[in-house]
């Protein structure tokens, strides 16, 4: 799932990279609080472990072999916050010393594999396990499903990153400058192999390794704490998924009419509106022309908005820290 340079535009990479800054900052604070400064050796060792996991070839039933990303496994073993930092360091080593995965695209790769995947795996495991916390077989089933979900979500986000390139970055002739495939091609092209093959490989490996460690040294596994799951994140996810409900309403909200709608309503367009300020946005009315489905376009717009807000917050945090450092 490593994205090389030039498939995504530099501005996409910069925005997603900026969005990772508050994530990294939060993860470092959490690890510091949980492990004091023991975390430096443990992060390095876990990064080395994550790096090696991505390199190994695992034999699978049927005589084939496969690779794992290892994000779900690492998240379940050491917690999502430590996993985020460890996998980010592993990705940095791969980019700088092995030329695997881009340098400009490091932010996007870290977002997909160090943030989305571990957190999706961890929180889906928490939610699933709470259904039947005592049953061992259900625990393994939850691990399997959460690892699969992490791959599905990670590949969806990566597909969206690819798919919006031709919409947003075009030359004078309207032809794409970076990844040329629109969302209608990128999403099925990325998701079908990940849902049919990669997800199962990842899930199989995660359950296998977790079972071994559980048998041999259960105290080494990160203790999941249900009370630490903040409801606000679940609410945010819930709202993200439900936002297309707005499409059910017909007509336009009061005061948000366009010029044509006003003319239909009152028979003329006031002078100030005819020659007034005009602005054409990138995603007008939360719609993406290339996408046939308005629902999918709505969700894509919502995710884009959340990422942009996180990016702006990240930039603000860097700015604030620089000013605080200069002041002290």
């Amino acid at each position: 799932m490593h994205i090389p340079d030039n498939y995504l535009s530099p501005s996409t990479c910069a925005i997603i990279g900026a969005a990772m800054v508050p994530v990294w900052s939060r993860c470092i604070k959490k690890i510091k609080y949980e492990f004091a400064f023991k975390n430096i050796p443990s992060i390095s060792l876990m990064s080395a472990f994550s790096f090696l996991i991505m390199m190994f070839n695992v034999p699978l039933p049927g005589g084939t072999t496969g690779h794992a990303v290892g994000a779900a496994l690492v998240a379940l073993l050491i917690g999502p916050y430590a996993a985020c930092i460890s996998i980010s360091v592993a990705l940095m080593v791969q980019a700088l010393l092995f030329g695997d995965g881009g340098i400009i695209a490091f932010g996007a790769n870290a977002f997909n594999m160090a943030f989305v995947m571990p957190f999706a795996a961890y929180y889906s495991y928490i939610v699933l396990k709470s259904i039947s916390p005592q049953k061992r077989s259900w625990k393994h089933t939850s691990i399997f499903i959460s690892a699969y979900v992490s791959v599905a979500v990670g590949s969806l986000i990566a597909a969206m990153e690819f798919g919006i390139q031709p919409l947003l970055f075009k030359d004078a002739a309207g032809l794409p400058l970076y990844s040329p495939y629109p969302l209608s091609v990128a999403i099925p092209a990325m998701m079908i192999p990940h849902l049919l093959v990669v997800g199962f490989i990842e899930a199989f490996i995660t359950v296998g390794v977790y079972s071994y460690i559980e048998k041999v040294s259960p105290s080494s596994i990160y203790e999941l704490s249900y009370s630490k799951l903040k409801p606000v994140y679940l609410v945010l996810l819930f709202l993200l998924v439900l936002c297309p409900l707005g499409l059910l309403t017909t007509g336009t909200a009061w005061g948000e009419w366009g010029v044509h709608e006003i003319k239909n309503m009152i028979g003329f367009v006031p002078k100030g509106m005819v020659h007034g300020f005009s602005f054409s946005s990138m995603l007008p009315n939360y719609n993406i022309p290339a996408l046939a489905s308005k629902t999918v376009a709505y969700i894509v717009s919502a995710v884009t908005g959340v990422v942009l807000i996180m990016a702006m917050f990240g930039i603000f945090m860097i700015f604030k820290r620089t000013i605080t450092k200069k002041g002290s």
Partner: protein, 264 residues
């Protein structure tokens, strides 16, 4: 000694696929040999160029490639990076060539279907050259330096000391854990004398043992650091004095000339 130990087994080995063992050993050994590359006796000028300049121009080329809309410039950067093949060692040359061709073939395969519906030949060619160019830039940096040079070079780029420490320790322990993994795969190879019906289980056990070893090493490392009065601070090491020599001048001149192609 029991009777069965005193008798010879008339055992005829059975065929079974253990390719994953040799493949994994080769992968890890390749990674470790890359990380263990040391300063060779090569007198080639490219190895004497200051790492700060190499990192700077690599970043400039990668960013400019992603922003350029000129196929001439993208081609010029590719040719410039390929020219370094004449100045690196045999091992590094073979690695760079392999990576260049893999990058070109892979990007052509990805971009080819888009020619029919979504893009023009010019844009597709530009994308392929951009991708191969940026991969080449990073790999020329990686293979014209040695791993310890890159980490010491990053020190000059105002990267916080604690990040450098994590990065350094990660590299060291990739080598340590990699050595453990190679020995473990060799041990499995030695015991794979027949038909192994639990190949995946064995590999999962290996991952599990590596994880447990990582935890053990991290505790030991922390204790060792505390015993040497580590208090959580890692002041960045002062880099060597920057001496601008003939090799540096050559490198800067050539890189600036290539950058000027953007103006054409």
């Amino acid at each position: 000694m029991y009777n069965w130990l005193l008798q010879k087994d008339n055992y005829v080995p059975k065929q079974d696929s253990e390719a994953f063992l040799s493949r994994n050993i080769l992968t890890i050994v390749g990674i470790l040999s890359n990380l263990r590359r040391k300063q060779s006796n090569s007198t080639s000028w490219i190895y004497r160029v200051n790492i700060f300049l190499k990192i700077f121009f690599t970043l400039v080329f990668v960013i400019s490639l992603s922003l350029t809309r000129s196929i001439t410039y993208a081609g010029a950067v590719n040719l410039y990076m390929l020219s370094f093949l004449f100045f690196v060692n045999k091992y590094e040359r073979s690695r760079i060539i392999k990576l260049f061709f893999s990058a070109v073939i892979f990007s052509i395969v990805i971009v080819l279907p888009s020619l029919f519906f979504y893009t023009s030949l010019y844009n597709a060619g530009l994308l392929v050259l951009r991708i191969s160019g940026s991969i080449m830039c990073v790999n020329v940096l990686v293979y014209s330096c040695f791993p310890h040079q890159i980490t010491s070079g990053l020190n000059n780029w105002f990267v916080p000391g604690i990040i450098m420490m994590i990065f350094d320790l990660t590299l060291k322990y990739i080598v340590v854990l990699g050595d453990c993994a190679v020995e473990m795969f060799q041990a499995i190879t030695l015991k794979s004398v027949g038909v192994n019906k639990e190949k995946s289980k064995i590999t999962f056990s290996l991952f599990g043992v590596l994880f447990l070893k990582s935890k053990m090493y991290s505790d030991d490392l922390y204790n060792a650091m505390v015993c040497r009065c580590f208090d959580g601070e890692y002041p960045a090491l002062k880099g060597k004095r920057f001496n601008f020599g003939l090799s540096d001048l050559c490198y800067v001149t050539l890189s600036c000339l290539v950058l000027c192609v953007t103006l054409l």
